[in-house]
Homo-oligomer: 449 residues x 2
C-alpha cells in the first residue's frame, strides 16, 4: 500500500522477514500468497499460525500460548461453549431466511431492543458491521433528505463502496466521498483544558463541519461515529463530552448514528453501549463484531420514524441476515453477558488493568504519553517525552512486535499509529493483568535500552 | 412498497389476511411487526412458521411437512450433517480473523479455485453476495478506469448502496446509479428465432448499451450478470448465447463479472458454474448463497491482474470474511458436492423434473406458456394463450399461494412477476417429482375452474 493507514497497516509480513520464519510458516505464507488476493495482509513481521482458542487465550501450531489483548469479536471469550452449543443445536433444526416466521428472531429483537433507550424501537439484521453502516447511511439520507456525512478524522466504518468512502483510516489512496467531512479526533490528552472547555471545542468543530457541508452544497444528513473513537486511538474521556455535539447535530436537522461495533455489548463497563456512557440517545445504532462471537451477524436499530422513511418506500432483504443460526449465536452472547455479569466484570477488572498500565506508564515516562480507557477498552499511547507529546509510531510498532514475541497479541490505532489498542475478550481476568503489564514493562525496557 | 418489484414483492402478508391465521401465527406476526423494521416482508398471505428442515423438506410448528422448491441457500440440503459437524468442530477449536495464518482458508482457496478456469487464480472472502458484488464492481472500476456498469433489465445484485443501485429488481423507488445501463432480458421464449439469431440480437444489445454509456460520458467498466438470469425469470437457453456478448464486453475494454450466487455450485447440472455452461471465462466470479449452506460466506475470485489493480493500491479487510468457521462450512459444502456427485445428480433428476413439468404445461395450455431450466433451476412461466404470450402475474401469485396451501414452497421471478422459480435444495430426489408436478397440476386446475 502506498500510504499510511492506521487500521490496515500495522506491521505486516513482507518477504524481508522470510528468514525469521519456520519452514512450515513460510510454506503457509507462500501458499496463501499464491491463492489469496493481495489485499490480504498478515499481522506481524513473523505471522502467527493460530490453531486453538479458549476464553482470552490462543495457541499456535507449536503449542505456544498467547494472551489475546486485541480481539473484541470473541467478545465473551474464544469458543464460548454457550455459543457452540446454541449454534450446533439450531444448525441441526433449521437455518433459513427471514421471509418465513421464526420465533428466535422475534425474541432476540425484543431482548436486544430492551437493552436500548425506549426511543430506539425497531431493528433489522445484516451480516457485517459494514452492511449495517451502509444501510444506516442510506436511511439517514432518506430521512433527512440530505446527503452530507460527518465522520471522525481517522474513522473506520466498513468495506463497502459507501462505507469505505467514509473511512479515512483506509489511507489516502481510498478517496473519501465528496459529501463526507472529517471532524477532528477528540484527543483530550493533546487538547487538554477542562472537560467543559473540551466539550465546547468539540461542539464548535461539529458546527464548523456542518457549515462546511452547507457551504459546499451538501445538506447535512448525519454524524456517524464510534463513541469510543477506537480507530482514532481510543478516546473515552471526558465522559459525556459527546452529548453537546450530538445536540448540535440534531439542532442542524441531522441524525446521529452510533456505530457500536467497537464499544457495544458491555465492554466499556460504564454502560452496555458506548453512546450511553455519554448520556446520548442516538437516532440509529449499528452493531457488529462481538454480537455473535464470530458468527457473522450485525444489526441496525433505529427510532421507528427514522427507519420508516426508508422502509416505507424501499425494500431491503438480507439473505443470511438474522437467520436462525446467526440469531442463536447472538442470543447466546446476550444471555452470557447478562448471566456472567460481564458489564460489571469489565468495569472492575478494567479499572484494575488500567491502574496496572498506568504504573507501567509511570515507569516509562520517556516512552508512554498517556493511558486511558473504559472497562476493557484501553488505549496505551507511545509518545516522546519532549514537551510536545510527539507520537512515537516506530516504538509502538516495535512494541507490538516484541509483545508478539512474548506471547501477547495486540495492534495499534490512531491517526499517528502510535496507540496500542488493548481490547481483549471480556473473558480477560484479574490474573491476566500481570501477564500484559509485566510483558509490556519488559518490552519497553528492551526498546529503551 | 409503492411499486412492483419482482424480487421483493411477491405475495406478502398484510392485515387483510389476518382472519385466515391461527392465533399463534397472528401473535407472532404482531410481535414481529412491533420489533422488527418495516422492510421485513413475509412470504405468503398466510405466512409459514417453520421450525425444522431436513434435506429438501421443511416442517412448520404444527408438524406440517413442506417440499422446499425455492431455497438454494441450503444447497446441499437443510441441516446437512456434514456442515453441522464441520462447523461444530471448528467452533470448538478456533474462530478468528484472517490477519493470522490459518490452514483451512488456504486449503479451501486452493480447492475452490481448482474448480474454476485456470485464468481465475486469486480469491478473497466476504460474508454476503452483496459484499462480493460491491467489491467486484470497485475492482472492475479500478482495473478499467471506467465507471459504466451494465446489468440485466431485472437484475438483483445486492443490498449495499452500490449494489442496490445496480438492482432494477428492487423496483422503481430504488433509483439506479447514473452510470448504470440495463440490457434487455435474454428472453428466448418471447424473442424466438434460431440460436444464432438470438445470440446476434443479444450481442447487438450489449454493444448498444456500451455505446449509450459512452455517449453519456461514462467509460465502460463492466457487465455484471447472473448467467441464468434468475431475477429476470430464469433464462438458461440457448446454451452458449452469452459468449458472443462477453466477447463484445472484452472488445470494448470492459470486464465480465459472473455473479454465481444463483447458478453456481453445481446446480445447473451442465457445469459447476453457470458461466461454464456458456463456454465463458469471466474476469471475476462472485459467489454467495449456497457456498456455506446458510453460514454466511461469500467469495470474489478473479484473474490476478484484474484484482491487483485494486489490491496493490487499496486495503480490504472483512472481519468475519473467511474465518475458520465460515470456511469449515464452505469446505464441507464443496466436499459434499463432490462426494455425493451433486452436479450429476442435478443433471439427471433435473432433466426428469423438467420433463414432468413440461407435461404439466401440456395439460394447461391456457395457463402455462413455457417451462425451461438447467438442472435443478427451472422457470415455469404462466402466460395467457392469446397468441401474444401475455404474462399472467395474477395467476402466478395465486399459484404460489395455492402451492403453499398444498405444502409446496416457492416464489416468482421475472420482469412481469409471472415465472415460478423452482430451485430446490440439491437434496431434491426423483421421488419428489410427483409431489411438485401433481400439486402444480391440481393448483392450475383449481385456478382454471
Amino acid at each position: 500500500m502506498a500510504t499510511k493507514s492506521s487500521i490496515m497497516d500495522t506491521n505486516s509480513y513482507s518477504d524481508d522477514y522470510s528468514s525469521l520464519l519456520s519452514n512450515t510458516t513460510r510454506d503457509m505464507i507462500n501458499r496463501r500468497e499464491k491463492w489469496m488476493g493481495g489485499a490480504y495482509r498478515l499481522f506481524y513481521r513473523k505471522p502467527v499460525n493460530l490453531v486453538r482458542g479458549q476464553g482470552q487465550y490462543l495457541w499456535d501450531a507449536e503449542g505456544n500460548k498467547y494472551l489475546d489483548m486485541y480481539n473484541n469479536v470473541a467478545g465473551i471469550g474464544h469458543c464460548h461453549p454457550a455459543v457452540v452449543e446454541a449454534v450446533t443445536e439450531q444448525m441441526k433444526l433449521l437455518n433459513t431466511h427471514t421471509r418465513y416466521l421464526h420465533e428466535r428472531i422475534i425474541d432476540y429483537s425484543e431482548d436486544l431492543l430492551k437493552m436500548m433507550p425506549d426511543e430506539i424501537d425497531k431493528i433489522m439484521f445484516m451480516c457485517t458491521g459494514s452492511e449495517a453502516n451502509d444501510l444506516a447511511l442510506r436511511v439517514a439520507q432518506e430521512y433527512t433528505g440530505g446527503t452530507g456525512i460527518i465522520v471522525s478524522r481517522e474513522a473506520y466504518h466498513g468495506t463497502s463502496a459507501l462505507t469505505s468512502g467514509c473511512s479515512p483510516a483506509l489511507g489516502s489512496e481510498q478517496p473519501l466521498l465528496p459529501n463526507v467531512r472529517l471532524i477532528e479526533t477528540p484527543d483530550y490528552y493533546r487538547h487538554g483544558g477542562t472537560p467543559e472547555e473540551f466539550t465546547a471545542w468539540y461542539l464548535g468543530e461539529m458546527q464548523k463541519k456542518i457549515d462546511e457541508l452547507a457551504a459546499t452544497g451538501y445538506k447535512f444528513s448525519c454524524f456517524l461515529a464510534d463513541s469510543i473513537f477506537s480507530s482514532d486511538g481510543v478516546h473515552p474521556n471526558p465522559v459525556g463530552f459527546l452529548k453537546a455535539a450530538i445536540d448540535v447535530v440534531h439542532k442542524n436537522g441531522g441524525v446521529f448514528i452510533a456505530d457500536e461495533v467497537q464499544p457495544g455489548f458491555a465492554r466499556t463497563g460504564d454502560a452496555f453501549w458506548g453512546f450511553a456512557r455519554h448520556g446520548i440517545i442516538p437516532d440509529m445504532v449499528t452493531t457488529g463484531k462481538p454480537m455473535g462471537n464470530g458468527i457473522p451477524i450485525s444489526g441496525l436499530a433505529a427510532k421507528h420514524e427514522v427507519l420508516a422513511a426508508f422502509s416505507d418506500k424501499l425494500p431491503y432483504f438480507n439473505t443470511f441476515g438474522g437467520n436462525p443460526v446467526a440469531i442463536a449465536a447472538a442470543q447466546a452472547v446476550l444471555n452470557v453477558i447478562k448471566e456472567e455479569k460481564l458489564q460489571d466484570h469489565c468495569k472492575v477488572v478494567g479499572a484494575k488493568l488500567l491502574k496496572a498500565l498506568q504504573e507501567v506508564k509511570d515507569r516509562h515516562p520517556d516512552s508512554v504519553g498517556d493511558v486511558r480507557g473504559a472497562g476493557l477498552f484501553i488505549g496505551f499511547e507511545l509518545a516522546k517525552n519532549d514537551g510536545k507529546k510527539t507520537p512515537d509510531q516506530q516504538k509502538a510498532l516495535d512494541a507490538i512486535e516484541l509483545l508478539r514475541d512474548n506471547n501477547v497479541l495486540t495492534s495499534v490505532a490512531g491517526p499517528y499509529g502510535n496507540v496500542l489498542k488493548l481490547r481483549p475478550p471480556m473473558a480477560f481476568q484479574e490474573c491476566d493483568i500481570d501477564w500484559i503489564a509485566s510483558t509490556l514493562d519488559k518490552c519497553l525496557h528492551q526498546l529503551e535500552s
